[in-house]
Symmetry: C2
Subunit: 514 residues, 2 copies
């Protein structure tokens, strides 16, 4: 066994039953039959005391890159060739393995998806996958693995960024995050709301400058050697004169750390450099931020940053921000100005999505090509019929209201022509609720699903990080503040058109009658 066995990142990183089913489809001459799967989630992350009102989709870029290269090559075929049943029989037929050698890649798969970084909602398809049944089935597990967790983390990061009122947020989660999963998780955090990460390797991959200060251990080393906290700060500042951020709570924040930092900051300034900031990592962060700001201001360091860290998440930050706004005036401090100089280092609670560590995204077979020009819906009858996704050629539309804010995501048939200026009937995907949107309530209609993978290649234009971040910012600006609320958000509308509702109803009746 090995920590970095290439097999782990290859196409065998899927569930065994996908291969078992793929062989059955091949055996029944269905391996290359076109099928459609939808990827969507049924509920927003629910952190126990509070629930998200939207998600930020993430993970697509790395998924698509993986799909470009993943295939059943010689090593994978050899491993499958060696599998035996408990009775010692071959588990995989030579014919199937030979078919897999020829056809075992994702070049026949088309993925349409909501581009990475955008706001997405429960019950609406985030991606639609079409292609040969066998390979589309094998894709299920790696697809879910590469989208569910990143979308979960981008969503949490977005909430953190909102709580920080768009202040600087730094991702610090590697040490307690899920082993090598911190790569995809950290990337998602950077798409969803973090400005930088402390992870050097990930920063390189994302073309960002890695961020960091120093640890308590540095102060402890110099204390153990008789140089004290001041000596430690001085040495650090001398080596990093233009990037000095000092961690001030190793001995005592207000009695030792901040005064020593100020001494060193004055020396820095005398030598022509400007200090960057201090970091607070324990105690009552709101109170200490105010008191530290008082000391820094008095010494003439009104612009110096104050980085906060220590078990932060969106609610902790929200409380700190509120407390500073309420308390700062009592000390003669401008709370708004203090908030502007704060930065937040967010670790464990972001990279693990504390409170709800998984997104329940599913990859559902919705239809199989009937070979006479139509899609035969595939339905799990034991399921609540209202939960069954709509099969067939469809599109996802976002409707913006007269204020320019998103008012509903609507699942429509591919050939339906919803227009601004006409009344639109919308139907709740679960149950019988309907509503009418008069022309005055719809100012814009936007198609959300784009072709992102085709002919074995990414087709999403390989967006830069900044493009994905801009998508999020723009989508949040156009989202109702009630839906953005951190606690108890308003539920966003996801609806069917009348045509989709009727088609679904018809297909479900037909299928369940059989």
């Amino acid at each position: 066994m090995s920590h970095s066995d290439p097999v782990l990142e290859g196409i065998l990183g899927t569930d065994q039953y996908q291969l078992a089913m793929a062989q059955l489809y091949w055996k029944e001459s269905l391996g290359e039959r076109a099928a459609q799967f939808d990827y969507f989630f049924r509920d927003y992350p629910d952190y126990g005391t509070h629930k998200a009102g939207y998600c930020i989709t993430a993970g697509l870029g790395w998924l698509l890159e993986w799909m470009e290269v993943a295939r059943f090559g010689k090593p994978e075929i050899e491993l499958l060739d060696a599998q035996r049943t408990p009775e010692g029989q071959r588990r995989f037929d030579k014919g199937f393995l030979s078919w897999l050698s020829e056809n075992g890649d994702f070049s026949g798969i088309e993925v349409r998806a909501v581009p990475e970084g955008r706001v997405v909602h429960a019950d609406a398809p985030v991606a639609v996958i079409r292609g040969p049944l066998a390979m589309a089935q094998i894709l299920e597990t790696p697809f879910l693995n590469r989208l569910n967790y990143p979308t979960l983390i981008a969503t949490k990061a977005s909430r953190v960024k909102e709580a920080a009122r768009d202040g600087m947020v730094l991702e610090f989660g590697m040490r307690r995050g899920p082993a090598s999963g911190v790569g995809a998780g950290g990337r998602a955090a950077l798409i969803g709301g973090c400005d930088f990460t402390s992870n050097v390797a990930l920063s390189e991959v994302m073309s960002l400058d890695p961020k960091g200060t120093h640890a308590h251990s540095m102060v402890q080393v110099f204390m153990a050697l008789g140089e004290g906290e001041l000596g430690a700060f001085r040495k650090f500042a001398r080596l990093y004169p233009d990037e000095t951020i000092l961690l001030v709570d190793t001995i005592d924040t207000l009695d030792s750390g901040v005064p020593n930092a100020i001494t060193v900051f004055e020396e820095l300034r005398d030598s022509g450099h400007e200090p960057v900031g201090i970091r607070l990592d324990s105690g009552d962060l709101a109170y200490l931020a105010i008191q530290s700001a008082l000391l820094l201001d008095e010494a003439g360091f009104e612009e110096t940053s104050i980085v906060l860290s220590s078990d932060l998440d969106e609610l902790a930050i929200w409380q700190i921000v509120s407390q500073i706004e309420a308390e700062a005036p009592r000390y003669g401090i401008d709370g708004g100005k203090l908030l502007e100089r704060l930065a937040y280092g967010v670790g464990t609670r972001l990279i693990t999505s504390e409170g709800d560590p998984s997104l329940g995204g599913v990859y559902k077979l919705v239809a199989v090509d009937d070979l006479v020009g139509d899609w035969e819906p595939a339905i799990k009858i034991s399921e609540d019929p209202a939960k069954i996704p709509a099969p067939g050629e469809k599109k996802l539309l976002r409707l913006y209201d007269h204020r320019g804010l998103a008012t509903a995501d609507v699942i429509a048939l591919e050939d339906e022509d919803l227009r601004v200026g006409e009344t639109i009937e919308l139907h709740h995907p679960r149950g019988d609720l309907s509503r009418s949107l008069p022309p005055s309530r719809v100012s814009e209609i936007e198609e959300l699903l784009e072709v992102v993978f085709q002919d074995g290649k990414r087709a999403d234009g390989r967006p830069e990080l900044e493009t994905m971040r801009e998508r999020r910012r723009r989508d949040l600006e156009r989202l109702d503040p009630g839906v953005r609320r951190l606690v108890n958000p308003h539920i966003y509308h996801v609806s069917f058109t009348t045509a989709v509702k009727e088609l679904r109803h018809h297909l479900i009746s037909e299928a369940t009658e059989e």
Copy 2:
């Protein structure tokens, strides 16, 4: 950017501040000064409604393999060489990078650790790291990243296995687990209590047979094509006659799934094969297991397995087991016998450690070589002194009582000679509680920390999976049932010897007086 950039798995997978501190140590001629760090956690995972009473250590094997190969090679040095401060200055000195080219690996580091798979406790060192300050500092982040999450997952898996009363447990978490972190997480689950995993690649790496059944989608495909559930089952059984496990809840478990499965099982038996089982994936699993067993028994399939899946964790399994024991007799079923044929597929809640998704393991600088033959303790003064780990040459001992059960883990000085047959004084690591263990209460004393990394190589004998599993089984047999309890466990004793207590007291007074 790329999903599989080798830089992500290399030595730059650390926090930026570790490199900043390493350069400072180099600059101050401290880069090669010996230092000691301890790895330990202060609290067991707390799942909200219940808390663990022990942990199973995991992750060490892959960490050590990584330490064998990770180094600052040419690509890493070039990336650091290119880093610039906001003012456009080099961030890393040419001299430092040249030092790093020569010394930038872990060959000077010695790691002593509790071997993988063993029971470990809060406040006791799970590993002690010694080596050159700069490299030991850089190691912190990857060390924590590779041990915290796996130990968390092995612990959860152990609890699941206990709830299942050592019945078969299958790991199914890839689809909702943390991206590529499912490799290390799945491996930890296999050490901690899972028998197999559905992840094909991980199974290959761990030399296990991958396990799986089929998905609802397989039944849906054949239903869409007019062949129905029975047709789907029949085709699957024909292809996998010795490994047939049928998922019976696509239409209706008791009205359709189980009767159709029985029809196919009878055909299998007629053709000389024995069916393996059915899988239940929704509904009241305890009730459905009993009812399915009744139908299977009636048809002569008393040995056929029943695999349960659907949001399982240790409490869900515990409840199912209890319900079956209480309910089965009412239907004339032997509950104990039914439990023996159950298997549990555990996914999301295991791979994410639902309820507590992180282990707070820390890597604490405890001492620096004073160059005159002693260790200078390194203390964070703002911390509760009772929380400061003991510096210096020490060992971790496990004391077994007259019943042969572990009664305490004791931190002793390296040269202390604790013996069976003598009274042993123990002191609580936080606070002043003490107790005496008379000779009659100690039957065995075991040293827990072993050298696992030395001279740049793993020194732990590269144990097989089965060896690690055997360690867990043996440790659990010798753990008090009260400590093993799933809810509200008894707190296990971790203690200092009198000599350690006095040395700590002395060193802390000295350090805080300075």
